[in-house]
Symmetry: C2
Subunit: 402 residues, 2 copies
């Protein structure tokens, strides 16, 4: 069996943890499996390097930032190889260039184009554990690019895909994927299984268990993922292609407080005005989420939408600068809002979910500001102060029922 | 003009120093020159990484150690590029793989085989300052190797050679090459010029100003070096091919306390026994320096020689294990010795240097244990407690005279 195992920065934060991970990998190796390990930078290394870079040049070119940050994973993988060697197991560390993990040139946010297997196969064939730097690739100029935050998950999935791995295990500091954040929802339960699509909705909604692009890639190449804890032997959660039987009505409930609402008031009610507003925002790299349009007075309309809190200031600037062209009379906004989402592949065939959700919120006296839905997701915008109460209410309505 | 400038770890140890170096390079750039900068790892980074590695595995494979250590220079070069960008000068950092600095596979002690110029030329042609990681190369397996301590000097010379640089400046924390260590010899003077051969003798004798192999390479490819301070604008010392006029009788006086004497007593006096002793030591990677053979009693001989202090224990073990085969009756040693050397290209044509040296030492009541000479060097072994006094005496005899 060929197993790809990915460990995040907290799992390799110090000597003891490095040896824990080493022993965990060696178990599989000694059972006769081929083992490929993907590592992130130790502990807070990446943040510390970013701070160091900022102290020298807050507007440093992303190419140089990638050159700097990728040293973090190179440190992790070499130390891990040393740890395994100390335990008398042959191991070799490889960076993105040595593996030949070809990526696009978009520094800080690159994507894999082609990943070679020759070097890794060669090392596996000589019965070594192969330890690969996560988070990084090499572009056509031989320059080093990074995949963005959480990119090590994507590295693991990419390697699992090209190596046709039997397993791709993503180790983290929680036991798996939960029906909701256990720190907020006391009844949250660990899931044994979740579909790619559900996981994608949850990841993009701020569940933060897996890097979104890693799930997309896993789905595309049909790589079955296991999310599990590096701290214990609990089985974890399988992320895979859903079959009929496994489709829960609601798999998970997620909250996202990194949200702000903006309303543009009194926009001329003619074709194309809404488009112009969102086109202008998109041209400034501002992503818009839930959108609500309502008819205003005297042939105008009001448009409300949400953006990430981090983008709020920028979005307001952009809108203000283009106020006249976009025929906006007034702009209002609210930072104290949060998104609450329920996700479940079973929703597709069960139309009643939305009304049950709204009723649960009504019974908890949580007011709904805006609503947005996909085939397997319902998202509502509520006041930020209500979000914990709302999560518990909706979670208990769906998850505890089943 | 194409200028290669190398800065050591202390010159880039913190933000302020990084900007100092950046500004120094930018001066040359703004004067219209092409500038290539070679950097070591910041401050004590390399030592810290070695300590980290030792805490995990004191017997780590050198391949993994090189993988770890080379991150140090990658951090320096990326931060330097950011600093130059902050000063509005286009700059790009390159590691050994990106330049294509091909080296041998001897991890921890590799040598350059071939250095490509294409990428550097391309970046220089687009008017960027090019910042290259010192100390490292890439072998034929795409693995990263290091050149050993002080290897960044060699990187700078190698680049100066292949790029046909007009200047290769080695920046350090002293003003240049001195006639002796100014901390010990109060009359020590900075030299304006020193020949490659003199520098080689001085470097190998522990003057520690330049990496020995960088001087060998500079001589081979006729790269004129300038050793100068990164802290001030003093002119520094030129290291080049000597011409008749420049040949001083004695250029420098150097001491090396990292020395121990070993004597093997009562070895059979037949052909090949001395060879066997030194062959056995060489097979165990122990370098032997000054050798003295004397006739012992009853058809035996005694052989004395010096080794580096760090090698003493190992050498004694090796000799003891092979005592019988090597017909050694007894082994004695002394750690409290030091080497004192005078170096000067002018010695070749001036036979009186040795006797003047011995007389100066005699007048200072310093006893000579062993003597070794080359065409341009005389080395004596003295008691370690006498070395400072001996240095001053010899220095004043030759250098102050001129």
């Amino acid at each position: 069996m060929l197993i790809v195992k990915k460990f995040g920065g907290t799992s390799v934060a110090n000597k003891e943890r490095i040896f824990n991970v080493a022993r965990r990998c060696i178990e599989d190796y000694k059972a006769g499996h081929d083992v490929v390990v993907v590592l992130s930078a130790m502990g807070d290394t990446t943040d510390e390097l970013i701070e160091l870079a900022n102290s020298i040049n807050p507007d440093a070119k992303k190419r140089e930032l990638d050159m700097l940050l990728t040293t973090g994973e190179q440190v992790s993988v070499s130390l891990m190889a040393m740890a395994m060697q100390a335990l008398d197991v042959p191991a070799v560390s490889l960076n993105a260039f040595q593996v030949a993990m070809h990526a696009t040139s978009r520094y800080g946010n690159a994507r894999f184009k082609r990943v070679d297997t020759k070097r890794i196969r060669h090392e596996l064939d000589s019965r070594k554990i192969v330890i690969v730097t996560g988070f990084q690739g090499v572009n056509k100029y031989d320059d080093i690019t990074t995949l963005g935050r959480g990119g090590s998950d994507t590295t693991a999935v990419a390697l699992a895909a090209v190596l046709h791995a039997d397993k791709c295990e993503i180790y983290t500091d929680v036991d798996g994927v939960f029906t909701a954040d256990p720190r907020i929802v006391k009844n949250a339960k660990k899931l044994d299984f979740i579909t790619y699509d559900e996981m994608l909705e949850l990841a993009s909604l701020g569940a933060k268990v897996l890097h979104n692009r890693s799930v997309e890639m896993a789905k595309k190449y049909n790589v079955e993922l296991v999310v599990r804890s590096s701290l214990n032997q609990t089985e974890g959660t399988v992320v895979g292609e859903g079959t009929g039987m496994e489709k829960l009505l609601v798999t998970g409930v997620a909250a996202d407080k990194n949200t702000a609402r903006i309303s543009v008031i009194g926009v001329e009610d003619k074709p194309g005005t809404a488009f112009s507003v969102f086109d202008t925002l998109a041209a400034n790299n501002i992503n818009v989420d839930i959108i609500l349009q309502s008819v205003g007075r005297e042939g105008t309309k009001d448009i409300s939408f949400t953006v990430a809190s981090d983008d709020l200031e920028h979005a307001l600037e952009v809108l203000d600068k283009n106020k006249e062209r976009l025929t906006i009379k007034d702009i209002t906004y609210n930072k104290d809002v949060a998104k609450l989402s329920v996700v479940g592949a079973g929703m597709m065939s069960n139309p009643g979910v939305a009304s049950r959700m709204f009723e649960a919120l009504y019974n908890s006296r949580v007011n709904i500001n805006m609503i947005s839905t996909s085939e397997i997701r319902i998202t509502v915008l509520v006041a930020e102060k209500d979000i914990d109460k709302a999560m518990n209410a909706v979670h208990d309505e769906f998850i505890m029922e089943e």
